[in-house]
Amino acid sequence: MLWSDLEKLGRFWDPWREFERMQRSLSGRTFSSSAEFPLVNVWTSGDEAIFTTEIPGVDPKSIDISVVGKTVTIRGSRYPENLSEGASYHRRERWTGQFTKSVEMPFSIEASKVEAKFSRGVLRITAPRAEAEKPKKIAVKSD
């Protein structure tokens, strides 16, 4: 920013707001500010994708995972506890209900080899890349 620009903005220019704006634009690069529930992280390598999501308190048996082509879809639910008579909520911040989330992977998935693990409230799905789509190494011959 040029100092001469300051005059144009006059007294409305707030250096702190400017600083916050820069910080936001930087952090937005690594973490998207918000997304649809549940939040998902996806890691990929040449031949597999790892999908993780935080869904604490969900019964592992009720989690439904389906894979079609490139898309992995998870479904699940968590219901509030039945309150006994005379009990009441003072604070209620935790989510309840059903959820569905679909994430498209960068490549097709070998649906028969997908593995899922649920531990400490974190679901981790390992999805191998379809055999037909795996990158092939090409050897270079030399004379």
């Binding site: 690594t30 973490f31 998207s32 500010s33 918000s34 997304a35 649809e36 529930f37 549940p38 939040l39 998902v40 992280n41 996806v42 890691w43 990929t44 390598s45 597999e48 994708a49 790892i50 993780t52 935080e54 869904i55 604490p56 308190g57 969900v58 019964d59 592992p60 506890e81 309150l83 006994s84 005379g86 009990a87 009441s88 909520y89 003072h90 604070r91 209620r92 911040e93 935790r94 989510w95 569905t100 994430v103 960068p106 649920f118 400490r120 409230g121 974190v122 981790r124």
Partner: protein, 135 residues
């Protein structure tokens, strides 16, 4: 779902007023339900990634602090291609009133959900005020 999906975000804990943490990591504030029952108060917190070995609950005077350490399980030789949530520890602080029996606080962790049972003190349980009719 008929309604448009609600956008969510993991809530980051506020920076402590005094000093800084010795470890450089992000700290999140877990979502909490507080339920008052007849004989106790139940605190339920979502702390995915934390188990009984990595949770730390301390009671100092009136202040109940829960701290969950998360061992980030980052796959090796993989690159992050979509990141919607950050990984970090959990911390939340509550102030208790005298109605809690401090000796009998119990806590359990299951599937990333922490449940703390705060039993009510005997005196509080039987608090009944009789009203006399005025002359």
């Amino acid at each position: 779902m008929a309604e448009p999906a609600k956008e969510v975000q993991k809530k980051e804990a506020e920076t402590p007023e005094k000093g800084e943490l010795t470890r450089a990591r992000r700290i999140f504030s877990p979502a909490v339900d507080i339920i008052e029952r007849k004989d106790d108060i139940v605190v339920v917190a979502d702390i995915p990634g934390v188990d009984d070995k990595t949770i730390d609950i301390t009671l100092e005077k009136n202040v109940l602090t829960l701290y969950g350490r998360v061992e980030a399980d980052i796959p090796e030789k993989h690159t992050l291609c979509l990141s919607e949530y950050g990984i970090g520890d959990y911390q939340r602080v509550f102030t208790l009133t005298d109605e809690v029996n401090r000796e009998k606080i119990e806590a359990t962790v299951k599937n990333g959900v922490l449940t703390i049972l705060l039993p009510k003190a005997e005196i509080v349980k039987t608090k009944k005020i009789s009203v006399r009719a005025g002359a």
